[in-house]
């Protein structure tokens, strides 16, 4: 007996899902599923089992059709996509110049974006190349209130605190500390520096870093009094110094006169815990006395160790943090140094430890460059946007050329969706080729950026091998750009009625207003965006110039910094000063050297500070001043005018009453501008000294101290010779008429004559200052480059639309000429169009500037983000160059021959 056909919702579902099945399989597919479902339904009805449970079961089964349909998706590619691709390649090859321009601008745009993103990825997003980096946390003080002494980074602790943390913590399955510095490997003469990494015993095992060769340290290697233990070298050092010799294990390397045995080599991808820096040699913390004396181990006021740990399974960073806070009171009680400055003891004891995630390591580079890099990424993104607008414009122009082709295809039965897909495949091809080239270009550009950020004193080391994020970013950009520039033209060109297009047949006085208005809007956007970019480039460039020409208070040209170190001479401490004087006398005697002086705090590089109050004032009212320890002739060397009193001289020795020279800002802050010479001030006690009075013997002009960007602040200069604790080193500043290389050679020779065991390193003062404004230079250089690129693209866009306008209006122009229009009128006709477009672009761009440049405010020096000169210059520049871009088509308009034009179709 025939049964009625099933009508359950499952049949609807299958019909619906069938939509995504490739068309040529769809009918069969639907029938197979429908037949199975209705057969089952019939059967169930026959068995009297068609209840809600079996119905639900059927529905569930029909949902499986989705998986089946999805599985069939690749077949869509197989037939239709391959066909589209083949046709797309053919179309692109047919129009080589368009393809070349498109690919080049995409490659530049995607390349620049990817390069910057790659840098951001390396400094910000990437985790350390160690085992399970997400389990790592850093332990440091919650704030710096209780920290006194020599502080490397606010997140570092002293060795006594580290030892307490190690012994008391319960949150970490293992914990380690590390610190860095550079030391000199050369036995004398010019310094050959090596970047040291001092690590506690569990460092390598906690991080899960295996040795590439030999072995790594264990906790047995790091015990106080370990003397001269083994040494681990980095892969890079191994390659550089030993040529990757496999027999390096067991060889000796002499550090500060101690021959140390090389026991291991670290793997190539491991650079330590600091992103942006690498290391050469690693020693256990216990071995630091052999290179730096006992200070760092015992001192409770040298903050130089970073503490990291691996969380115990099941512990969160928050739990670890609260455990660290709980143990803090007892821990700081136990670690309190005996000589801690009394006013700071309470703050020290009140300090609290916290734990923060540390999977991506620490990085000075990150702190300094993260914000500029995001900003540059935004700027580079704008360049890409402009490039996309350009391509969209070109494609729109091309689309109108292909109008008839498209119309014919539609007429013979191509569906609109299929045509759009075909056009999008062409865009996708462009984007894919441009993206691939761009990704390659990014590899070069990002390495160039790293070189840009490196200085001789501070080389940047970054792992730039592309990871999934970089690949994903470049791919995403390519797809996005493809949609941006390809979708609109594809939709527009297929929207036309085929009949109308075929009838129009290209004959017409002027091109359709509507399509033209979209292209105009694109050019207006381009001009607006390039105004934003040119204006920000000008802002950054002017900011850099301002920084370079800012009044520092001293003259840096012709000054050389030389750090001489005579520790290896093993002189008795009381001979140090006499030896320094001798060095200085010999250097001052060099022909061409105008002045030289000892300077412990090189301006804009080192810094120190103290709490001081004037004699007779309340000690509690002590205020901060910067401090600089300098020798006689310092002011002469830097050409800082001495306004009153005297310079330091041979009278100022250890044992004589302490004297100081102050600057004008000091006099303003502490003496209300009174002449300070003859007054006395007190310096708050430090762990080494009690409260100490200083007599002011001189007054000098204000200078920059720590940073070019700062306002002049108070500085107290101490006489370097009165510092009993000075070490066996002489940081010198030398003003010379000779070229720098020559001064370096002569000074090296002179020091070598005195004693070959003196080691020395040199830096030009101007080079050093230039390095402090690297960030501004980066912003200025890159934003100028991007600004120019954007502007160039915008001009090409403007030129494109105007010449298209001239071509498509040839007919109209011919009639005008025939009716007596002058050449001048003709060119004005076209130029006016250019002018209108540019002015519209500027009008749109100005409000955008105000919105955008506010972000850049913190990166500018001496300028507001709305600096009128920069904005005016940017607008003027754009107007001028845009007129040139407009002039070329305008001239072509005047050359139209009316006879030819009227015959033209």
């Amino acid at each position: 007996m025939p049964k009625p056909i099933g009508k359950g919702p499952w049949l609807w579902l299958v019909t619906l899902i069938g939509v995504i099945v490739p068309r040529r399989l769809r009918a069969d597919w639907r029938q197979e599923w429908a037949a199975e479902l209705s057969y089952r339904e019939t059967l169930l009805a026959e068995w009297h089992q068609l209840n809600w449970r079996t119905k639900l079961d059927l529905l569930w089964h029909s949902a499986g059709a989705l998986m089946d349909a999805l599985w069939l998706q690749p077949r869509r590619w197989e037939d239709e996509m391959i066909q589209d691709l083949r046709f797309g390649v053919r179309m692109l090859l047919k129009n080589k110049s368009f393809t070349a321009v498109a690919i080049l601008s995409l490659a530049l745009g995607i390349g620049a974006n990817t390069a910057i993103f790659q840098l951001l990825d390396a400094v910000r997003l990437r985790m350390l190349p160690v085992k399970a980096p997400q389990e790592l946390a850093e332990v440091h003080l919650a704030d710096t209130k209780g920290m006194r002494g020599g502080i490397g980074r606010p997140t570092q602790v002293t060795n006594p605190i580290w030892e307490q943390i190690r012994d008391r913590q319960q949150a970490f399955s293992s914990i380690f500390a590390w610190g860095t510095n550079t030391i000199n490997l050369a036995p004398g003469g010019e310094v050959r520096s090596a970047r040291m990494l001092y690590v506690s015993g569990d460092f390598f095992n906690t991080l899960g870093v295996p040795p590439a060769l030999g072995r790594v340290f264990t906790s047995a290697d790091d015990e106080r009094g370990c003397g001269a233990p083994g040494l681990i070298i980095s892969h890079e050092f191994w390659q550089r110094e030993y040529g990757g010799d496999a027999n390096v294990i067991g060889r000796k390397l002499t550090l500060a006169d101690h021959p140390l045995e090389i026991i291991g080599v670290t793997p190539a991808n491991f650079f330590g815990m600091e992103v942006g820096r690498s290391f050469d040699l690693a020693l256990p913390i216990c071995a630091i006395p052999i290179v730096r004396g006992n200070d760092r181990l015992l001192s409770g006021i040298i903050w130089w160790l970073t503490v990291n740990g691996r969380l115990k399974p099941g512990w969160s960073v928050e739990q670890a943090s609260s455990q660290m806070q709980r143990i803090s009171p007892g821990l700081f009680e136990a670690a309190l140094p005996a000589n801690y400055p009394p006013p700071s003891v309470k703050d020290y004891l009140d300090s609290r430890l916290i734990a923060v995630p540390a999977g991506s390591g620490v990085s000075e580079l990150r702190e300094k460059y993260e914000q500029p890099l995001w900003l540059l990424l935004a700027i580079a993104g704008l360049v890409l946007l402009i490039a996309c607008a350009n391509l969209a414009n070109l494609l729109l122009a091309r689309a109108s050329a292909r109008e008839r082709e498209i119309a014919v295809r539609q007429a013979v039965g191509a569906s609109r969706g299929r045509l759009i897909r075909q056009l999008l495949v062409e865009s996708l091809l462009l984007a894919a080729v441009g993206g691939a080239l761009g990704a390659g270009l990014a590899q070069v550009m990002s390495r160039f950026l790293v070189v840009f950020l490196s200085t001789t004193a501070d080389p940047v080391f970054l792992d730039l091998t592309p990871d999934w994020r970089v690949v994903g970013f470049a791919t995403g950009l390519a797809v996005l750009t493809c949609l941006l520039f390809g979708l609109t033209p594809a939709i527009r060109v297929t929207r036309k009625e085929p009949g109308a297009v075929m009838k129009a047949g290209g004959r017409g006085m002027t091109a359709s207003r509507e399509r033209f208005s979209l292209r105009r809007a694109l050019v207006v956007t381009q001009v607006a965006l390039s105004l934003v970019m040119v204006a920000s480039a000008l802002l950054f460039a002017r900011s850099l110039t301002k920084l370079r020409t800012v009044d520092t208070g001293f003259h840096q040209e012709g000054v050389l910094i030389a750090r001489a170190d005579f520790e290896r001479l093993n002189l008795p401490r009381e001979r140090y000063q006499a030896f320094k004087d001798e060095l200085l006398d010999r250097i001052r005697a060099i022909p061409g050297v105008e002045a030289a002086a000892v300077v412990h705090e090189i301006p804009l590089d080192d810094w120190g500070g103290a709490n001081v109050w004037m004699d007779g004032a309340d000690a509690r009212g002590g205020k901060h001043t910067s401090v600089s320890r300098v020798g006689p002739d310092y002011f002469k060397t830097l050409q800082i005018p001495l306004l009153a009193g005297r310079d330091f001289d041979a009278r100022d020795r250890v044992g004589t009453p302490k004297v100081a020279i102050v600057n004008e800002a000091f006099a303003r802050k502490f003496l209300n501008g009174l002449s300070p010479v003859g007054h006395r001030f007190w310096v708050e006690a430090t762990p080494g000294d009690p409260d100490t009075p200083y007599e002011i013997v001189g007054l000098v002009r204000d200078t920059k101290y720590e940073d070019l960007r700062e306002e002049f602040g108070p500085i107290a200069y101490y006489a370097a010779a009165q510092n009993a604790g000075a070490g066996p080193g002489a940081p010198l500043m030398i003003r010379s008429r000779l070229p720098q290389a020559e001064t370096v050679a002569v000074v090296t020779r002179v020091l070598n004559e005195i004693n070959p065991a003196i080691s020395v390193s040199f830096r030009g003062f101007t080079t050093m200052i230039e390095a402090t404004i690297l960030r501004e230079r980066l912003m200025a250089t890159l934003s100028s480059f991007f600004g120019m690129l954007a502007f160039l693209l915008a001009c090409i866009g403007l030129y494109g639309i105007l010449s298209y306008s001239v071509t498509s209006r040839t007919n109209e122009l011919g009639i005008r000429m025939a009716l007596g229009a002058q050449r001048r009128d003709m060119s004005w006709l076209i130029l006016r169009e250019a002018l209108l477009l540019v002015i519209a672009g500027l009008a749109v761009g100005f409000p955008m500037i105000f919105a955008v440049t506010r972000v850049a405010a913190t990166l500018l020096f001496g300028l507001t983000p709305t600096d009128p000169i920069s904005l005016f210059l940017a607008a003027l520049l754009i107007l001028a160059v845009a007129m040139v871009a407009g002039y070329l088509p305008a001239r072509r308009a005047t050359r139209v021959d009316p006879l030819v034009a009227l015959r033209y179709e």
């Binding site: 025939p2 049964k3 009625p4 056909i5 099933g6 069969d28 029938q31 197979e32 429908a34 037949a35 199975e36 479902l37 209705s38 057969y39 089952r40 019939t42 059967l43 169930l44 068995w47 089992q49 449970r53 079996t54 079961d57 569930w60 089964h61 029909s62 949902a63 499986g64 059709a65 989705l66 998986m67 089946d68 599985w71 069939l72």
Partner: protein, 108 residues
């Protein structure tokens, strides 16, 4: 897919087909696999040439007033692959062939 290697699910489906369960839903009932697993597996087996699909004669379907069903049969290469698969998955050999050509009853 590689012809020499069948996953357990694929081998199971092939074995069940060999035993005479020829329709997608019958396979689901006997194996307990979800429809989202069985159908893609059938498509892959078909791509690999291990099974072929045929439409049921229209007369039968017309008599039951429903669209013709599609059924699957194991091919020669499919038999070879099944022999190999039985070596690897011993459990497959314990399946009993279908006695008649009637579809299995669905439980519940």
């Amino acid at each position: 897919m590689t012809k020499s290697y069948l996953s357990y699910t694929m081998a199971l489906i092939l074995q069940v087909l060999d035993h005479g369960y020829r329709y997608g839903f019958d396979i689901m009932t006997i194996t307990g696999l979800a429809s989202g697993t069985v159908y893609p597996a059938l498509r892959r087996l078909e791509d690999a040439g291990f099974v072929v699909s045929k439409w049921e004669r229209p007369g039968i379907a017309q008599a039951a007033q429903r669209p013709p069903r599609k059924y699957y049969e194991v091919t020669g290469p499919g038999q070879t692959a099944l022999v190999e698969a039985r070596e690897r998955f011993r459990l497959l050999t314990q399946l009993k062939p279908l006695a008649t050509n009637k579809p299995a009853r669905q439980k519940g």
